[in-house]
């Protein structure tokens, strides 16, 4: 009997006080270590990640809107190409940003990864100017693609659904 009481006491102490302990001293560990809260912690982590995704996606959309306006202010494709030709250091700096820009721009514009990689790998200014113009005019694509990335059931079918509206609205430059 004594043993049973002791075990019951220890269990109650554990659940009550361990949760309090983690909450007070190790708030970042609470979710993963607290007694009896694993599924809730997992759900909470998932919600936090989704919330973060939404915040980052919103920021992404806002930044893209600003970037598009800024690219458009540079003029048409020929003018952008001329500016890049006259500023080879800026052009090569853009080309050096391959990893991040390639992923972002490829998915945003819906362009084939091959053509974009080609622009970066060959250092082709004309293609780079075309990519910037495509980025500036593909506002519908951006919203669609963001929703696609965020969607839980993202697959080829949903991608087509999200991006199908883009085909009629996005003017992809021939050279890209």
């Amino acid at each position: 009997m004594f043993v049973l009481r002791c075990r019951l006491g220890v269990n109650l102490f554990n659940k009550k006080h361990m949760n309090k302990f983690f909450e007070k001293f190790l708030p970042h560990k609470k979710e993963s270590l607290a007694v009896g809260s694993a599924p809730e912690a997992e759900k909470s982590n998932e919600n936090n990640t989704e919330e973060e995704i939404n915040i980052e996606a919103q920021e992404f959309k806002e930044n893209i809107d600003k970037l598009q306006a800024e690219i458009k202010s540079l003029g048409n494709q020929e003018e952008i190409e001329a500016a890049l030709q006259e500023n080879p250091s800026i052009a090569s700096r853009i080309l050096e940003r391959v990893p991040g820009v390639a992923v972002a721009v490829t998915i945003i514009t819906g362009l084939g990864g091959g053509s974009l990689s080609n622009a970066f790998e060959t250092g082709d200014i004309k293609k780079l100017a075309g990519t910037l113009v495509a980025l500036a005019v593909s506002s519908v694509a951006i919203s669609g693609i963001i929703e696609f990335i965020k969607s839980k059931k993202a697959d080829k079918k949903t991608f087509r659904e999200y991006s199908s509206a883009d085909e009629n609205n996005v003017e992809h430059p021939e050279q890209v």
Binding site: L67, E70, G100
Partner: protein, 57 residues
Amino acid sequence: MTIEEAKKLGEKISAGQATPEEKLLFFKNANQAVADLRQDVAALKASQELKNVRAEM
């Protein structure tokens, strides 16, 4: 992030196989990329404006 990692992440997202954490990583990288691009575009714009001022002088 290396070019190979970036390509793999892009492929995973396109295939609908990315986890929420990978999607978050994508957006963070994309935001950084856009911020960098905006700086470059601002530099190009400044160069154009300087050229115009010189042409007017």
